[in-house]
């Protein structure tokens, strides 16, 4: 079990996201920025900076902080999700069902509230918590953000027309997470243990719905493979990570990886090596799991398949749930930050020997 570096921040960290590098400075930034969202007593967004480990002159002093606060801004409700839309813009999902937009200035060290819209409500008028959000991967200037919530609805919010949010009732339980598999298609996971696929152009109709027939458990999180839109990873309430191949919509192929002991709150394919799935859990650990399927192709090419295994990351000083994590996409060093209910920022820096820029 590898150790995570810990920095106490005295608030529950519920969401985290690296800011993408500014144009022209990608891969040469000496300072990296990320944003954390917290909940419970301290409902706020915090902008942090940390030195780029690729340019570190010497081993960092263990007594130094992992990251330093640049600015803070209060948030309406617990922060349930953060998406960095650009280096200067981010969107958040709130436990009060609100989707908000914030402007970030890393040079000026500022973060300001832009505008917001209530996207999720129950039929009796009570606010419904938004559980996640994802930005449509179109590359267009006017991006659209999809969010899901405890009201069983998915909402589409174009940033230029925030007040015209469109909502669709698509599930009778809670939608726990969503992701865009293609620019026109998105997938959701439900507390009922289903994956549902929708087409943005017909959002009220379910294209397909899958459930794990072997051991159907509530699904907590979902992520799509960076280059294979038919391959999904989901985290379950029981602690498993499922890797789905949904090319055959009638009978998807599921690979179950038992890596955690409790709810898997977030799952992602490793951006540096998509044969690995990273997941964080209520059991206070992060798991980096090598899933085997992609290795079969490597055998055909005469390359040794990657060894299947799990690398667990945890800390002696973090006993409670790790709620969220994000991997910095622009550094040679594999830089992972995570946030927990123990009020800690957790970080792991590992040099990735396979990383090549060109």
């Amino acid at each position: 079990m590898s150790k995570l570096q810990v920095q106490p921040v005295a608030r529950k960290v519920t969401a985290i996201s690296w800011l993408p590098p500014r144009a022209g400075t990608a891969y040469t930034d000496t300072d990296l920025y990320f944003v954390t969202g917290s909940g419970a007593k301290h409902k706020e967004l915090v902008l942090w900076t940390t030195p780029n480990p690729d340019f570190a002159q010497s081993e960092p002093d263990s007594t130094n902080d992992l990251a330093t606060v640049v600015s803070k801004v209060p948030h309406n409700g617990d922060v349930q999700g953060i998406i960095a839309l650009s280096p200067g813009l981010l969107a958040t999902a709130s436990s009060t069902g609100i989707i908000s937009v914030y402007n970030v200035g890393t040079e000026s060290g500022s973060m300001e509230f832009g505008e917001s819209v209530t996207a999720h409500k129950f039929s009796n008028g009570e606010v419904a918590g938004a559980t996640s959000l994802a930005v449509q991967p179109t590359g267009a200037l006017d991006v659209e953000v999809a969010s899901c919530g405890e009201d069983g609805r998915i909402a589409f919010t174009a940033l230029s027309r925030l007040k015209e949010s469109q909502g669709y009732d698509v599930d009778s339980t809670v939608i726990t997470d969503l992701c865009w598999t293609t620019p026109t298609q998105l997938a959701i996971t439900t507390r009922g243990g289903q994956i549902k696929i929708f087409d943005r152009r017909m959002p009220s109709e379910i294209l397909a719905a899958f459930a794990n027939s072997q051991s159907s458990q509530a699904l907590e999180s979902i992520a799509v493979h960076p280059s294979q839109p038919f391959r999904l990873a989901t985290g379950t309430a029981g602690g498993s990570v499922l890797v789905w191949d949904i090319r055959d919509m009638r009978q998807p192929i599921i690979e179950e990886l038992t890596v955690h002991e409790a709810n898997v709150w977030q799952v992602r394919f490793d951006p540096a090596d998509s044969t690995r799935v990273i997941s964080c859990s209520e059991d206070a650990s992060i798991a980096v799991t090598q899933w085997a399927t992609e290795g079969r192709g490597a055998v055909a090419l005469g390359v040794a398949p990657p060894e299947r295994g799990v690398r667990r990351l945890s800390s002696m000083f973090n006993a409670l749930s790790i709620n969220c994590f994000d991997v910095c996409p622009s550094t040679r060093t594999h830089l992972l930050v995570a946030g927990s209910d123990s009020g800690n920022l957790l970080m792991e820096k590992t040099v990735n020997p396979d990383f090549k820029l060109f």
Binding site: P8, A10, H42, S95, G192, S216, N318, A319, S321, S342
Partner: protein
């Protein structure tokens, strides 16, 4: 009372060490209580059952009816003030989370070491020492955080003092019960005690030596420095003999010292360097021999300096005070170092200093069991009334009076009493004092600490762990009561609370939370989610009521829109063992099959649709009030071009119709009854279908 709730205010509540709390600013203007009372005003309050909040309002002492009309009313009285009594400062959050992690790891360590007998011997003292050091590191981090706060207020200063006390107590307990018990190490407590003394109480620092020596470049300057001799005495008391030796050597060439004082300073400096130090590879006998030799030499020095002082006093009658002062100081230092108790008592300001010097110079091989006798003799010289809680706790610990020790620890801080009683339990010393308490002290202090965290939004999970890990029936009961009262603000928090129930096997609480969540979802119109929660606890009645609601919505709207609800439920039905029975719930099966019937009918699969409809009737899963509608639904199939129902099927339909008619006759109420004309049509359709079936088969 309604118009009181026009606004809420937030007050700052200052909390002192005693239980009293004071509002600041107060609702009562200071010194005007009698005026308020005369105006029929008093304070009323209500405490929130779970959180640390209190609602406060100005209330009337008499009812409005009993007052005359001209009684004054005040606008500011139309308010309810919500006061949050913060028992935990946010400045402690990191410390609480850190030590909670160590606490959980310690419990796991002990559990893994031996499920039956989790004793120190099973785990090994080294494991416990490691955990204890982790606790102390967390305390030191917190002390540094508090020290780094610029412009600290009174509360921060108090906190810093509390953490210094916590560390001192913990460190001493670690030395007495863990460090000196480590196998392979010398069991003498003296070097550890001196380390504890210098780490926790202001010690002569190397910087002080540099400051004194640096400000005095020559030996004469050094001899003139007024801080020199008190500092050297402090060095001797705290056992910093090598620094003392260096300082004396530097001082010796001074022309301001008499020849004899300079000579003895040089000699004492050499003796300081020769002081024997015990090591683990040396036998006690060998060390004692070396010590006796050194001590004898020192005694000779002290005697000689004493004689010189006596002679000088006789000759000069007090003249040449400066030189005598140096000799006197050298005499005092040598007396301290040879272990003269009177000299040590005369030089030591704190009882801890005297204790340390006595141990170091008088009993250098003393073990922990020698401490009670020593501390008893030393504290007699001090006024106990001037002792702080820290002093009392330390004295009790040195006396091995663990019951009193725990009580004083609790006075210092609740965190300390809870964690130290837990550690004492793991090293099996708590049993010594268990009988003194009415309840188990570990359980009591851990529960008290856990309860204090429950009202905090960030610490409720930490609090539950303390309740759960005190591993007693009372803890489990309290936990079961609390866990059902935690506000379920979000789906994720509900999942986390349910996970706590699973970890600590709180079956009843789990069931209550599922029911609570089911009702919450039902109120919010999330029928699928509500059914899923009720299914977890096999609440068939509630599921039946929801099914009825779904059916009634269908009947009133005529639109079959409950498909997604049923699908969601069917997918979630196998989430756990407890919900396996959900699929067998008649109401859900009926709705599911009825939806299938309509889908097949709409797709033109009349035969399959007929089979589904017949199976609903034969399995008797349909509620009685839906039977009429089902029979009506069968009419198009009976009258269609395709023969859907065989003669046996038709007889079954007629049997259902007959039993329905009989039950309607028995019951006067007409709810769910089918129209007579529709019944007649059904009968005719059945007759025709029967005739056709006889011909066809």
């Amino acid at each position: 009372m309604q118009n009181r709730h026009t606004a809420t205010d937030r007050f700052v509540v200052s909390r002192d060490k005693e239980a009293a709390t004071h509002l600041s600013p107060g609702l009562f203007p200071a010194g005007r209580q009698s005026e308020w009372s005369a105006q029929n005003r008093t304070l009323i309050f209500s405490i929130h059952p779970l959180s640390n909040k209190t609602a406060l309002a100005v209330g009337g002492k008499k009812t409005r009816e009993s007052l005359s009309n001209d009684t004054l009313t005040f606008d500011q009285d139309q308010r309810v003030h919500i006061c949050g009594i913060s028992t935990e400062s946010d400045s402690r959050l990191a410390f609480i989370n850190d030590t909670h992690a160590v606490f959980v790891a310690l419990q796991q360590l002990m559990e893994e070491a031996g499920a039956d007998d989790s004793t120190a011997s099973a785990v090994g003292i080294k494991g416990l020492v490691k955990m204890s050091v982790l606790y102390r590191e967390a305390m030191q981090r917190q002390s540094r955080v508090l020290a780094d706060i610029a412009d600290p207020n009174e509360f921060i200063k108090e906190e810093a003092e509390t953490f210094r006390a916590i560390h001192a107590v913990w460190h001493l307990l670690e030395i007495i019960y863990l460090t000196t018990n480590t196998p392979g190490l010398s069991t003498s407590i003296v070097p550890h005690f001196m380390e504890w003394l210098n780490a926790n109480f202001l010690a002569p620092l190397a910087e002080d030596a540099h400051r004194i020596a640096g400000g005095s470049p020559t030996a004469d300057d050094l001899a003139r420095n007024e801080l020199l001799w008190p500092y050297l005495k402090k060095l001797a008391l705290r056992g910093h003999v090598s620094v003392l030796g260096n300082m004396l050597e530097r001082l010796a060439p001074s022309q301001l010292l008499s020849a004899s004082a300079a000579r003895w300073a040089r000699s004492l400096s050499q003796l300081c360097r020769k002081m024997p130090l015990s090591s683990s590879d040396e036998t006690a006998g060998s060390f004692n021999s070396r010590w006796r030799q050194w001590n004898e030499e020192l005694r000779g020095h002290a005697t000689a300096i004493g004689c010189l002082l006596g002679d000088a006093g006789e000759k000069d009658g007090g003249a040449g005070g400066d030189k005598d002062k140096a000799l006197e100081a050298l005499f005092a230092i040598s007396e301290v170092m040879r272990g003269d108790l009177d000299a040590i008592a005369a030089e030591g300001e704190m009882w801890q200093d005297i204790m340390g010097a006595t141990l170091l110079y008088s009993e250098p091989t003393a073990r922990a069991d020698r401490l009670p006798a020593l501390v008893g003799a030393i504290i007699e010289q001090f006024e106990e009334s001037a002792f702080t809680e820290l002093d009392r706790a330390l004295v009790a610990l040195l006396n091995h009076d663990l019951a009193e020790f725990l009580v004083h620890c609790d006075h210092i801080d609740h965190w300390l009493s809870a964690h130290i009683s837990d550690l004492m339990d793991h090293i099996s010393v708590l049993d010594i004092c268990r009988r003194v308490f009415v309840v188990d002290p570990r359980e009591h202090y851990l529960m008290a600490l856990g309860e204090s965290y429950l009202g905090h939004e960030d610490l409720w999970r930490v609090g539950l762990d303390y309740l759960g890990l005190c591993r007693t029936v009372a803890g489990a009961l309290v936990m079961e009561e609390y866990v059902t009262r935690i506000p379920l603000d979000s789906d994720r928090k509900a999942e986390q609370v349910l996970r706590v129930c699973e970890v600590y096997t709180l079956e009843c609480a789990r069931d209550r939370i599922h029911r609570q969540l089911g009702r919450q979802k039902w109120q919010r119109g999330r029928l699928g989610a509500a059914i899923a929660h009720f299914a977890q606890v096999c609440d068939h009645d509630s599921i039946g009521l929801i099914c009825d609601q779904i059916w009634n919505a269908y009947i009133s709207s005529g639109e079959l829109t409950y498909g997604p609800t049923i699908d969601g439920v069917m997918a979630s039905s196998s989430l756990s063992e407890g919900s396996g029975s959900l699929l067998h719930h008649e109401g859900l099966q009926f709705l599911s099959k009825y939806r299938d019937f309509h889908e097949l009918y709409a797709a033109g699969a009349f035969v399959e649709a007929g089979k589904v409809l017949l199976s609903i009737l034969l399995c008797e899963i349909a509620p009685a009030y839906a039977l009429g509608d089902l029979l009506v639904d069968s009419i198009p199939l009976l009258e269609g071009d395709t023969l859907v129902f065989s003669s046996e099927d038709t007889f079954e339909l007629m049997r259902v119709a007959e039993s329905l008619a009989q039950s309607q006759m028995r019951q006067s109420q007409q709810d769910g009854a089918i129209d007579c004309s529709e019944m007649n049509i059904f009968n005719v359709a059945c007759t025709r279908n029967l005739a056709r079936s006889f011909v066809m088969f």
